[in-house]
Amino acid sequence: MTDILDSIASAIGKLDSSQSAKALVTNALSQGLSPTEITEKGIRRGLEIVGEKYEANEYFLSELLYAGSLVSELFDLLKPSLKDSQLERKGTIVLGTVKGDIHDLGKNIFKMLADSSGFEVHDLGVDVEPAIFINEARQVHPQVLGLSALLTTALEEMRNTLNELRTAGVKTNLRVLLGGNAVKKEFGAEIGADATALDAVEGLEICKEWTKK
């Protein structure tokens, strides 16, 4: 039974064609494997392999994007037989590009990976006011709040958002992760963020670590 799950993981890890990956998932369903099992031990394991290869400089952005689109197709295939409640969520992430910055390429890649890896992601979009982050944090009680910025001119807004979170009293219940091309780890430490990720895969690994049960 696990052979087919290994094959699914391997197909994603090797970036096989969507046709062959879909055939494997269909096969797994016909063998009676549950969608939850296929998701956890097949698809998500495959995505982990892609992440490992990305970190090892074997895969790059193209590969990450293709893997993401492949996984999305496989989830579509599982959807009819998969109810959300069947899947265990790894944690909740609230995400957004800070006020004054309207760029979302890196944020969207992180969102795609986090979502596919089992996180519940609340994406607030771009140019997000601190008050919007605060309201969302109060409503959904995330473990992680992800702030993104591409422009160096938006860095001060990251600091401001973090200060507002503290003032509003919501910072104590969550961890703040910074990401985006403008951000250096030194800056993250300086403004008191809990971590800074230099790319989407590193960001995902940090979130997994923080939400380990």
Partner: protein, 390 residues
Amino acid sequence: MSTLRERFKAVMHFEKPDVLPWLENVYDETLVQWLGQGLPAERVTVIDWEMGRGGTALANMVTVKGFNPYPLFGCQSLYGSLLQVDIGPMPRFKQRLLKESDRHLEYITETGAVARRSKTGKYTWYSMPMFVEFPVKDRQTWYEYRERLNPEDPRRYPKDWDSEAYVKSYEAYQDGNTMMRFNGFYGFGAEIMGIPTFNLMFYRDPELIHDMIEYWEYFTVETIRSAVETLKDRIDVVYWWEDFADRHGPCISPKLFKEFLLPHYKRVIGFLAKNKIDRILMDSDGNINPILDLVVESGINGLWPLEVNSGMNAIEVRKKYGDKLFLIGNLDKSELAKGGQAMKKEVDSKVPVLKEMGGYMPGADHVIPVEMTLEKFKEYAEYIKPLLAY
């Protein structure tokens, strides 16, 4: 005493000049800010908006015309005398506003993309638009777009393009390098399709990518042919814009680079070499280390800006690649903008060592950002200038 052009050419060829050229490229919006901070404005003729990069930038940007600020600081522009061959879509798309809110506006750019711009930011161009839609989405839209990429269109050259006059002016010019600039195979595709779609298509529709890159090679060579065959090595350097990396590494893997891009680089560079143009400078932000072996194999022999924040280190590149790559930049712009000890430490850690190694021209590791005040730039200028003479 050598001219600025002679110095630039010497370093590109790993010869020792009398004084090392110090090269910068200041955002026009930074310049506008400096004008407000006391930079003499007498010679500014107009501040306008126009399409950049020979008609290929997807949005208009602010431009300060008739004003050369570089001599005021003792540096020279990275771009020198840029030959104006237009490689953009012709006819242009009609720029128009699509929608507007109190915070954003969205408009179609002259290259057919839909750009969203913030209305509330302190800066205009520098706050960079976010492109939310691109003119090329698939095969059909590529074929439609390709109709606008006719190399024979007479509008691609200046109206006063006259071989003899240009030959003379390119021989006489001494205030910096003479340069021809065009977009590379990755850069052009990412710009008309958007980074996610273009990157995805390497896997989803590789034949489309082959077709696009094949056409871009044809288009590039045929568009620049007249200039290249006329001016030959009076063009000191070709500037190849790619921007195919982020902090983690190149956007496409070495495997994809080798399969899709490398043969085309070699053919275009072969065409340039036949016309005695042998200095090819690639502009790519981000961490390009994983792909440098292939870049060198392609025939590209110069790099700018070598972004520190992405892990690029000119000293390491020099040690590994010797005289196969001349290098420009690599001074961390954010450290330079801090001024004082941070700026001095950054300059001291690179400039003296690389000066002795040769084939290096100092400068910030990208365009001078708006965070750099006029005062800090002057301080940086006064510090670096005494280090330049041999």
